[in-house]
Symmetry: D2
């Protein structure tokens, strides 16, 4: 079944139609920024946010929060990753012109959800319905999302608040199953000088969890400390723009309620348009005892992509 | 010829050895930052640079400079690109738990050098020798670069100077073959309020060239306005950290000297460790008549990668 | 959401469950060869078939029926294909040992359903149910089919009957929309010396359609002459093992009934376990006026694969 | 550096030219079938060979010689393999028309040299020169071989002689480092009823080696029993068309002379145009004590491919 160019009548005939028309869906979550919104809680970031974040830069230090992505990075099955480097046109010697120019080139064969990543608004749904009541069957194609693709994410520059859960708990890494809810979030804020979380902020948990990569990949990848359900609702109520952690999935595992699978993901992405950042590592800032600063992120704009391999820059 | 784990003696036997031992090489270019340096001219960015750049943020506006990457983006042969979206484990219906969690996932099958991209220091060489006198045969493997991989790029936050060559030349886009040398660079700086380029800056040319994408891909991809040889040497003498443009290859094509193929690339990457940014589009800032601001970039840290698909964030 | 090794309890929690439990399904089609059967109508091929086919070899001529597969082969969206050739470990010169051994290696990045292909029994379903009443949700994983994978296809050596529809219709290629039903099949058999189709045979239509590739890809890929619904039922009643044609989809397009989309595929694969061969070209045999012979095929045994890129060998 | 369509003058400028013009090459090996030959020793197969092979079919039994290829198949670094199955257009339910047609589709992301494989004549060279004196720099592009691509392999149907080295040596598997030279080959032939190898034959060694896959991948992939240098020259003198074994690399490892790396590959492919078959398993025929029969193979015709994942059919 291959068709280069489908003529109009055939295209019509070939349209996949829902097999279950009357399927009852849970009430979906409309965006508070309107029916065309694809940006989500990044809408909470105003120019005042940017200016306030910029004022936090005092040392002139910029650090990267991305970890490496490669074929050994532990990943959710069946995700795999490979980079291939080659020297096109230069096999068996050869170079370009009298300048003897050479070049290496590279190819990615891999799932995007490996290493540091941004979960776009098209990543997680509720019974087939995604952010802003967009139905999976309407936006998903094998060649890319028709809406909520990662290319739509606006420029990100805002204040980030880092929550050092290692210092709070006295455990490095914070043990798996440790849920971060309002109590823990507020305690961490208080310990760090009675900080406050503002509308539009990015919140980044530091747990020490990435230290397990390459040492105990099984433990790293099967469980984790992380955001709890009530904590997610709390941060959503504060109108943050995005939430991240140095873990593979942000939310606590084992889940608080074993029947609620990745429910924190649902609270954040489809219900509130809050982006999730995974495997973002604030270790260097934590070592400097810096807990707020300017957070910038420009995910690669792959048209129709669901996620992005990222490396946020934190400036303080 | 497949070997899962090569025993020590076989590995020895299998080492590829140079077939031409005595091949004379051009004198290579040692890094001024020492024999172990893999960061290049990003070393020129100090905390003072960061602080100065931050002070340029006055409107609280953040814009993205990345263009989209997809299967239709015109690309140097044989580069191709595809994203694949799928719903693992949910084929023919199904969701997770009582929360009815669904998810989309995505795969990249593609060459990295498509769309907005950062050329790492391992991209361009001179007769088989790369930045800091590293030999291609020592650092290149099909599974990734052993040195100069894109994962080594430090956090980037510095001042960017945007040079509006459309305004300077009065042509939109600036015609192919228009070389930007010291004269044009200085004229653009002067026109924009007698600006100066500082050590550590990123310099971004705006030419209007990306407007051709999708309209005249052939013209877009076969020629371009861009940096000339003397202009590259001039900017290198100013100790900039990186140079970009809204064109596929930064440097002017047809080349100023047809025998010097991608010589500007060589001046920048292997000779001076200055990074190249391609298809970075400063259009929005130019519309705002803003020519300097805070430029941040965190390329995805794919171990051993040559390039990165990027989306720099410009804050002003 | 990445998990390297899912612990038992998590694995349980993560099981995707059907969201629509009570969905009514059409009666499914059990295999006549038992509940464990994954071979389908290849079961119709007996040792007598093999011996009879071998006796048809009279000239000692072997021809290939495969067409080429590459990035330009017209294909059903979003299918794409690329082969990448590289020289691992030999970049910038180098070879192995005193024998100066070099090697090229190659990578496939592509959809399998391009060029000559075998549709396995896991390719086409009816409302989510596949051959032998296997449910899509039970056998499909993103990492491969758990049942009906292409690795299960038994060795194929049987008699092939070639039906020269160009000679029958006097048109080359046979026009799109020309349906091959019992009348046409019997007429072609009669024209070719009053041939008969036997149980276990492969039936291969020759239409001249592949001549359009590279000349009129749009026509080639949007329509085709081919097997009609009644013709498919007729051949199924004769207990053939597989049916092929030199077209991208075997069955006639526009469809005889526009509401019955790929219904011929359904009659053959899920209902009768009869394999479909696409873009198999019997041109050379037809030129020799040979319409029966020994047909052999060994599809590559990629575990969990749906289809195979093939090149059947026809001996006569 | 991306160019969609390179204009003529630029294409000229971009031609990679040899950096070492005067490099002395070993005398290369011209094909005995002429300067345009790309078929190699398959030229030795005549219609008489086909007829003789067909006469060997006595039981009407067809068996496959291919092993499975998947992500766990042990492979020479950096080769990796993945198949991806998806349901395009049917995510979150849906089917085509009133027939409720569904389909699965599959993608290969992988190196070809994994599992059962045919080494084409473009796989192995001597100091950069391939079969028929074709220079690597003239035929290799990243987008595929310009000559000696796997699409050129003619239809293969010939007699295969299976040599049961397990029975000969009394060891299962035959131990690594066991070289098969003239003495061993002749002994095996004699043990099997004083068989003879004819011009045009395929010769397949059976060693039991694939039994190690999944049990001791390290041993499997780092060493093997196999063809020795003198044995390769002996079989070449008999004008066989191809030689295979149930090992990953056909030739004995550790090599007979550690400085002669894959020299058997060189004797066969570039020097004599004799194809190599790897991981082809004759176990079923050996169990039946059948050592000759009709061997057929149609490698997938991927334009410019180096190798093919294969599944030869053996009929007896």
């Amino acid at each position: 079944m291959r068709i280069t160019t489908i003529c109009a009548t055939l295209a019509l005939a070939l349209s996949f139609t829902a097999s279950v028309q009357a399927q009852a869906l849970e009430p979906c979550h409309k965006s508070k920024w309107g029916p065309d919104d694809q940006a989500g809680a990044i809408n909470n970031i105003t120019s005042a946010n940017v200016m306030d974040a910029v004022k936090l830069v005092k040392r002139g230090k910029a650090v990267r929060m991305g970890i490496e992505t490669n074929s050994k990075t532990p990943a959710f099955p069946p995700r795999t990753f490979a980079v291939i480097v080659l020297t096109p046109g230069q096999e068996y010697g050869g170079s370009l012109g009298e300048t003897k120019t050479n070049y290496n080139d590279d190819i990615i064969n891999g799932w995007v959800g490996i290493g540091s990543q941004l979960d776009g608004l098209g990543h997680i749904g509720i019974d087939g319905v995604y952010y802003n009541c967009l139905k999976g069957r309407d936006i998903v194609t094998a060649a890319g999302l028709k809406k909520l693709g990662i290319e739509n994410v606006p420029a990100i520059a805002t204040r980030a608040v880092i929550l050092d859960m290692v210092a709070l708990t006295g455990k490095d890494p914070v043990p798996e199953g440790t849920a971060f809810n309002r109590k823990e979030i507020d305690a961490a804020l208080q310990r760090q000088g009675n900080m406050k979380i503002n509308k539009g902020d990015a919140v980044i948990f530091y747990t020490g969890w990435t230290k397990l990569i390459g040492k105990d990949d099984k433990r790293y990848g099967s469980v984790e400390p992380g955001l709890g359900i009530e904590g997610a609702q709390y941060l959503a109520s504060l109108n943050v723009s995005m939430i991240g952690a140095d873990t593979w999935g942000l939310e606590v595992l084992p889940f608080e309620d074993p029947k609620k699978i990745f429910y924190v993901h649902q609270i954040l992405l489809p219900m509130n348009g809050i982006y999730i950042l995974e495997n973002v590592n604030a270790e260097e800032a934590v070592k400097d005892k810096v807990y707020e600063g300017l957070f910038t992120l420009g995910p690669s704009r792959i048209t129709g992509g669901v996620q992005a391999i990222i490396n946020p820059i934190f400036v303080y």
